[in-house]
Every structure is written in C-alpha cells, then in structure tokens.
Symmetry: C2
Subunit: 123 residues, 2 copies
C-alpha cells in the first residue's frame, strides 16, 4: 500500500524519516537488503527520482550503503544504529518540549497530559 505522506513537507524528507524509523525500530534488520529504488518508489506511490533522492541523502547518515550494481543494504553497525536512535529520541523530545513550553505549559503539566493520553490509549 502507498505510504502515508503529506504534502506539507518535502516527500523525500518524509521518506528518509520513515526509513530511518524502520531501521531504528528493527523493521529493517542490520545487513538486510533494501528493495530496489523502483520497487520502493512503487510501494510508496512516489516517483523513482524522488525515492532515489531520498535514499542517496540517507547514505550520508551511514545507516545504509549502496552497492552500485547489486542494491542497497542496511548497515551492520548496530552501535551506529543505537546511537542514532537515542540521538533522535532526545532531539524529538527536545523539540516537543520546547513547542509545548512555547504554548505556556510547564513540564509538570506536560507530563500529566502525556500520562493521561497514554492511559486513554491503553484503554
């Protein structure tokens, strides 16, 4: 099925985020071969050029490596993956908390809000 992409932000950026999330969460395993550019483009319902751009950008993080003629592979460096994971998590938390505080919510309020939200979700 087509990936969930919005038109608010560049598609290639969203693709990068999604693949990174896939690597970090383990959906894509270390050393695993990614589907080809054309396959992924079809799966995401996106132009191959856009997918190509996203994936080539993604290489700069070191999380994937391209083999030119055989395909693209997830890094086997689990240390890199884990460090990216905690790095990203911290960054997301920082951005989130700053946003909430700019709305005038203090940390305690935020924690309560989240706790309530999670409790609701589990119900």
């Amino acid at each position: 099925m087509a990936w969930k992409l919005d038109s608010e932000r560049p598609i290639y950026t969203q693709i990068i985020e999604r693949v990174v999330a896939g690597i970090i969460s383990g959906t894509y395993q270390p050393g695993e071969k990614l589907p080809s550019v054309r396959e992924l483009a079809a799966e995401a319902a996106v132009n191959p050029n856009t997918m190509q751009k996203a994936l080539s950008e993604l290489e700069r993080t070191g999380l994937v490596k391209s083999q030119r003629t055989s395909g693209r592979f997830i890094t086997e460096d689990t240390g890199l993956i884990n460090s990216k994971k905690s790095e990203l998590a911290k960054k997301e938390i920082k951005v989130f908390l700053e946003k909430m505080e700019s709305m005038g919510l203090d940390p305690e309020e935020i924690e309560n809000y989240i706790h309530e939200y999670i409790k609701e979700e589990e119900a």
Copy 2:
C-alpha cells in the same frame, strides 16, 4: 531581534505557529492590538508579503481579526483560545507519541525518557 525561523518549512507556516503560541501562552492578550504587518515583518526579518500571508491565513482560525484600516486584534473570546490550546496540545502529543512509537519505543520508555530529560533541564 529576528525571529527563530528555519528554512526547512514554509516561513509563513512558522509565523502562524509562533503567533498562535503567543496567543495561547498569553504573550498576546485577548483584545490586544497586534503590531502592523510592516512592523512585524521587520521584527521577524521577513518580507512584508510573507507576514501578510501568514496573518491573513491566521484569520481563518478566528484567533485574530483584522480591522482593515486600524489594525489587527487578538480575539476577546477566551473560550476559543482555551479550546484551541487544549486541541493543539493534544494534537502535538499525538504526533509526538506516534513518532516515538515508530522508532520502536513503548509508552513507558517514552515517559521515562521525558522524565529524565525534564529532571536534567531543571538542574
């Protein structure tokens, strides 16, 4: 001083978010008159057209009203402001949690991460 804007997303969108945050947090009080388009543009170090676009978009939320020749004013409807506040807070939490969960973190882990982060910040 110039506002903190990045080039990742449309500037007018970021302006809207910032003004909304100002209203929600009380930085801009109900009924208060906003600086003029040109003033705000200068303050944000942005083109007046961009500021104009942001503010006219913002009207659709009802949080501000323009008086055509005298200026723009924050709504006096505190009920509207409060409902927008909780609405936005919930939305931000939802987006945040979804993002974190896409990285393979479960709710408890997330709560701990945040708690740690806030404790560090207060120190």
